[in-house]
């Protein structure tokens, strides 16, 4: 029995994707946790950009919302919301965009809008797009963090909120999307990456203790396992310690 949870493994694996010095567009939740873990470990100079207009925020604790005061207090610059999207995200100045998903298909298309029923009478109404469509379109690359199960990893998403590789090779170019699209999908079971030819998400790494069968069983399409599928490193003691210390700061939200 590992001394870490699947969510911790997922967050650590996501943090490891971030190279020091990169500019990273982060939303709240797992992306913000992973980005701040990276900044607190191997990437001290990661530039965190929050859609609230905080460029280069350096929070010493996990903000509960993208508008927490600590983000403005520690930012290199605080700009308006129109500016963060028009001058910073849209021209491709952000290297990495972090996205979550309620549904994800084999081409990395993301749904965070509605699930089930039809659009006007959905079974589940989700929060909607937020900054995701343009993050998915314009960041140099996209890292998706999402728990892997049959509800989430679906053959077809009920609504395309943010575009991955569309219907396959060449679609991003046809649509005129300038960013690179999803480079990696980090789940609680492992890591998926788009096949260089087909653009289909294939399993390239399993987290320690996870089997191929578990990964396939949690995927709503016939999951392709990459040749050279490996097993990733478990969380290092330091990574776990820092992550748990960060998580502990969440309950501490009022002390801004």
């Amino acid at each position: 029995m590992a001394d870490w949870t699947a969510d911790e493994m997922m967050t650590v694996a996501a943090a490891r994707q971030l190279r020091d010095g990169a500019a990273c567009f982060v939303g709240i939740g797992l992306p913000s946790t992973a980005a701040n873990l990276a900044r607190a470990t191997h990437a001290p100079n990661l530039v965190l950009v929050y859609e609230s207009g905080c460029l280069g925020a350096k929070p010493d604790r996990l903000p509960l919302s993208i508008g927490d005061g600590v983000l403005a207090d520690t930012a290199d610059a605080v700009v308006s919301v129109p500016e963060v999207f028009n001058y910073w995200l849209q021209p491709g100045r952000i290297d990495v965009g972090f996205l979550g998903a309620a549904q994800l298909d084999r081409y990395g298309n993301i749904n965070t809008t509605v699930v089930g029923g039809d659009y006007d009478a959905p079974k589940v109404r989700l929060p909607g797009a937020g900054g995701a469509p343009e993050i998915a379109a314009s960041c140099g690359e996209v890292v998706v963090i999402v728990r892997q199960n049959l509800r989430t990893f679906t053959e077809r998403v009920d609504f395309i909120t943010s575009v991955g590789y569309g219907t396959g090779p060449g679609d991003r170019e046809r649509l005129g999307l300038r960013g690179g699209g999803p480079r990696v999908v980090i789940t609680d079971l492992g890591v998926l990456e788009p096949d260089p030819i087909t653009c289909e998400l294939t399993l390239t790494r399993l987290h320690p203790g996870v089997t191929r069968a578990q990964a396939r069983a949690a995927t709503g399409w016939d999951l392709v396992l990459a040749e050279g599928l490996t097993t990733g490193e478990p969380p290092a003691a330091r990574e776990l310690a820092v992550l748990r210390a960060l998580e502990a700061t969440k309950s501490d939200g009022r002390r801004q």
Binding site: I28, G29, E51, S52, G53, C54, P63, L64, S65, I66, G67, D68, G69, L71, A72, V78, S80, V81, P82, F85, N86, L89, Q90, T113, Y119, A121, P122, K123, V124, R125, L126, P127, G128, A129, G130, G131, A132, P133, E134, A137, S138, F159, I160, T161, S162, V163, G166, D171, L175, G176, L177, R178, G253, R254, R255, Q256
Partner: protein, 283 residues
């Protein structure tokens, strides 16, 4: 609605009570934007709108969160124009979901956009233009659900981009840290899209932590001249459970607690009765 002040001879925003400001500026059936990007959310004004029993509002807001959950649950809204509806860092908005999924307490029409699209719709409104251009929505299912997103061709390169129509609320309501007696408004910290939302609107109501004799410059400040604002009301703590940078901190515990309060219609109604209706115009 800035008035020509007899004593100073200047165009100034009217200084009003919150109740009078809402009664005068927020009418049934109006298109109303309460803005504030996590910071400086005009909760007190939203509660006053509920107390005054406004109906059939088209509520506009990039990030409808707890205050819109309350307005929707209270039955004030007919339509919602937005880009992200959730309780930041906590989860779903249960009153919002109940309205969309079960039409309780009444059906809620939705028009949804991306943040970039909404921000640019306000920019177009503030700029006196009928539309704005961005790289956005492309390849998503969003444009199929609204008439306010259309392709546009660059007259120089032939490239096809996305146009969004201007947003022109009947009234925009925001909260700020300070105003002076001429109604010049000063806000700082995360100022979001408030300037654009106020300038895009036909009229505007600004609640402030305090009205001061003189506005002293603050780093990161955004100043709205009194002649560009309709009315200002002094409402200390008017952003709670959101916050006013330099005056208060975000009450994250309230946002967390809201999840349980709002899950159930009865607990929501009880909360509304106790904390909004009975609270009176004191807030």
């Amino acid at each position: 609605m800035p008035r020509f002040s007899q004593e100073t001879g200047r165009l100034v925003a009217t200084l009003v009570s919150l109740a009078d400001g809402v009664a005068d500026l927020v009418r049934d059936g109006a298109v109303v934007a309460l803005e504030g990007f996590t910071h400086l959310i005009p909760f007190a004004a939203g509660h006053e709108i509920i107390r005054q029993g406004r109906q059939d509002l088209t509520l506009v807001r990039m990030t409808p969160d707890v205050i819109y959950d309350q307005l929707i649950g209270a039955g004030c809204a007919r339509r919602l124009v937005f880009s992200w509806g959730g309780n930041p860092g906590v989860g779903s908005l249960h009153r919002f979901r109940d309205a969309v999924q079960h039409a309780w307490p009444r059906p809620l029409e939705l028009e949804e956009h991306s943040h970039a699209g909404m921000a640019n719709r306000y920019v177009a409104g503030a700029s006196g233009l009928p539309f704005a251009v961005l790289r956005g929505y492309t390849g998503t299912d969003l444009p199929a659900r609204t008439d306010n997103v259309r392709p546009i061709t660059c007259p120089f390169t032939g490239e096809i981009l996305t146009a969004v129509s201007a947003l022109r609320p009947d009234v925009t309501v925001v909260h700020a840290q300070r105003a002076d007696r001429a109604g010049n408004v000063q806000m700082w910290g995360i100022t979001g899209v408030q300037k654009e939302a106020v300038l895009a609107a036909h009229r505007s109501l600004v609640t402030v932590e305090e009205i001061v004799d003189e506005l002293h410059p603050v780093p990161g400040q955004v100043v709205l001249p009194g002649w560009a604002v309709s009315a200002v009301a002094e409402v200390p703590g008017g952003a709670h459970p959101s916050y006013a940078h330099g005056y208060s901190v975000r009450d994250n515990d309230f946002y967390r607690a809201w999840d349980a309060v709002s899950r159930n219609r009865d607990t929501f109604r009880a909360w509304l009765d106790q904390h909004v209706h009975r609270a009176g115009a004191a807030a």
